[in-house]
Subunit: 184 residues, 2 copies
């Protein structure tokens, strides 16, 4: 059996994820057939399922990447940068998330894993919020997780609007979001 | 042709809407076939389409009713009451809204009508927000529409979470929402 470099494995994985993202956006989660994934990635189903045992695993990996990107934007450039990033996403791609919500609701195991898709990032974000609370930049009368949930709610609200094709003027809305989390 | 009383027409309309709501919740928008609507309402397709020319019109009427209920809760009992009402909704019913978002995005005429599904209520809500701004209960550095959009964003965020089966502890979150709209 020939030895395959890590670099090669990573490139192949990237090729699958990039192709799958296009297929999901274009056809939705249900509509993303194996044949379409093969066509768009240029790989056989055997090769694809060597990396990801199910279609769900491919989507899950893409959602992990999105979450990582949003979390790093928050850590590096602040929460406003996350919201700007959300409104720039393709509505078609965001629609795939909405499509998978029914699965999450009706499958507790899937849901539990979904909520834990990036615990290390969650810890870094919590530490940052707590640091800003100590520094007087964020209110201290609620815990860091509540602030995180509030931010998540704003992101989810935007997601829903973007998926329905709404245009968004963020600047004034940001004032209200900031008002909610500022020291009172 | 026999004369039909307004009372009879209203009762028949109610019968269709109640049955359709159950069918949509159970089978989704796409899955709500005419046969299922006939079975659940106990009426023929001819009778149903006499009141609503398309399946979309039935859903639209139900969404108008939801919006009316939420708006009146806001006017009578405050915004917190709206959020409590949202988290009590059946996830299956909320899922129908998510399913229709793709249609809204890809059909501008549908979308324009959707946004105007209750202009009279919108005016009453705007008047209430402006009155609370003048009375010093709400911040005045943004216009009433921005406050309305922020509230809508919070509702939409909750909607998305409820549809994914998330449980919600509202009390602490409400503090942040109120912080966002209070005079700064």
């Amino acid at each position: 059996m020939p030895k395959v470099s890590q670099e090669h494995l990573d490139a192949r994985r990237r090729q699958i994820l990039d192709g799958a993202r296009r297929v999901f956006s274009r056809h939705g989660f249900e509509g993303a057939t194996i044949a379409k994934l093969e066509e768009e990635t240029g790989l056989s189903r055997g090769a694809i399922f060597n990396y990801f045992p199910t279609k769900w695993e491919i989507f899950y990996a893409l959602a992990q990447e999105d979450q990582q990107r949003a979390g790093e934007l928050w850590l590096d450039d602040g929460f406003s940068a996350v919201l700007r990033w959300v409104v720039e996403q393709e509505p078609e791609w965001i629609g795939v998330y909405l499509e998978t919500h029914r699965m999450l609701r009706t499958n507790p195991e899937l849901r539990a894993r979904w909520e834990q898709r990036n615990p290390e990032l969650d810890n870094r974000l919590r530490a940052k919020v707590e640091q800003q609370q100590r520094g007087g930049e964020l209110r201290r009368d609620v815990d860091a997780d509540t602030i995180g949930r509030f931010m998540g709610l704003i992101v989810d609200g935007l997601v829903l609007n973007v998926s329905a094709g709404a245009a968004y003027e963020l600047e004034d809305l940001l004032k209200l979001v900031i008002g909610g989390i500022a020291p009172q």
